[in-house]
Amino acid sequence: MKPMANIDILPMACVGLILVLAMMVLAPMIMTHTQTPVDVPRAHTAETKTEENLTITYTEDSRLFVNDVEILPEQLTDVIYQELEKDPYQLVVIRADKNVFHRDVLEILANVKKCGAKRIACATKNPKSE
């Protein structure tokens, strides 16, 4: 009698699971732009939204980054305008260092609003993650 040939699916399941893990770790990293180190303020009530967004980072030494690319402050409006032209409902995340002046953050917020942003959020960190 001929032996029955069967496929061993366990290694395949393992590879599938590893792929799922890799995707889960990489997807938020690709979609969000948080490579520029900034000490964002802590907040308990913040909501997490992992979606493609436009991230404006403002560091303690007053440097400005849009999606982790450094720009000059006078270029901000043009860059945001170009990005928001594609989708005005794109989420704009402002990652400002906790030690910067609020008036500077407001200036950025006002520029973002002027460019037609519909959804704006201030990035925060969950105190539990420390």
Partner: protein, 137 residues
């Protein structure tokens, strides 16, 4: 008889037992699902109402206006309060408000962290909408 038993044993030792590996991988997936939100940043949604666009509509809703001073003081509806008192008063005011809108404005040299603390406090106490007011130059 003895030979047959040995043969059976050899047959069993050939394959790798992958069940435990799958279990570990599944546990890791679960662990990642739970842990990932803790590692990534979250955010507070804010609004910046345009001063020029503000209409003159009459509303009789309870206002929650917070003004942060440079010296650490807080004005709640133009009354000086401490942070602890603000924590007590905010839920009471927001419970009576229909729109549950909190408007926050600051003096020029207030640190961003303080504003986020107040935004967080307002959210914790049931604020529906948060607005950051900017004075016109």
């Amino acid at each position: 008889m003895r030979k047959r038993r040995r043969l059976r044993f050899d047959h069993h030792s050939q394959g790798l037992i992958l069940n435990s590996l799958v279990d570990i991988a599944l546990s890791l997936v679960l662990g990642f699902i739970v842990a990932i939100p803790l590692f990534f940043e979250s955010g507070i949604f804010v609004n910046t109402p345009g001063v020029a666009k503000a209409g003159a509509t009459q509303v009789s809703d309870i206002k929650v206006n917070i003004y942060l001073l440079d010296d650490g003081g807080i004005l709640l509806n133009e009354e000086l309060v401490t942070y602890e008192r603000l924590e007590e008063l905010l839920p009471e005011l927001l419970a009576r408000s229909v729109a549950r809108k909190v408007i926050i404005s600051t003096e020029p040299d207030v640190r961003y962290e303080r504003v986020v603390h107040v935004l967080d406090l307002a959210k914790q106490n049931g604020a529906g909408e948060l607005a950051l007011l900017r004075s016109r130059r």
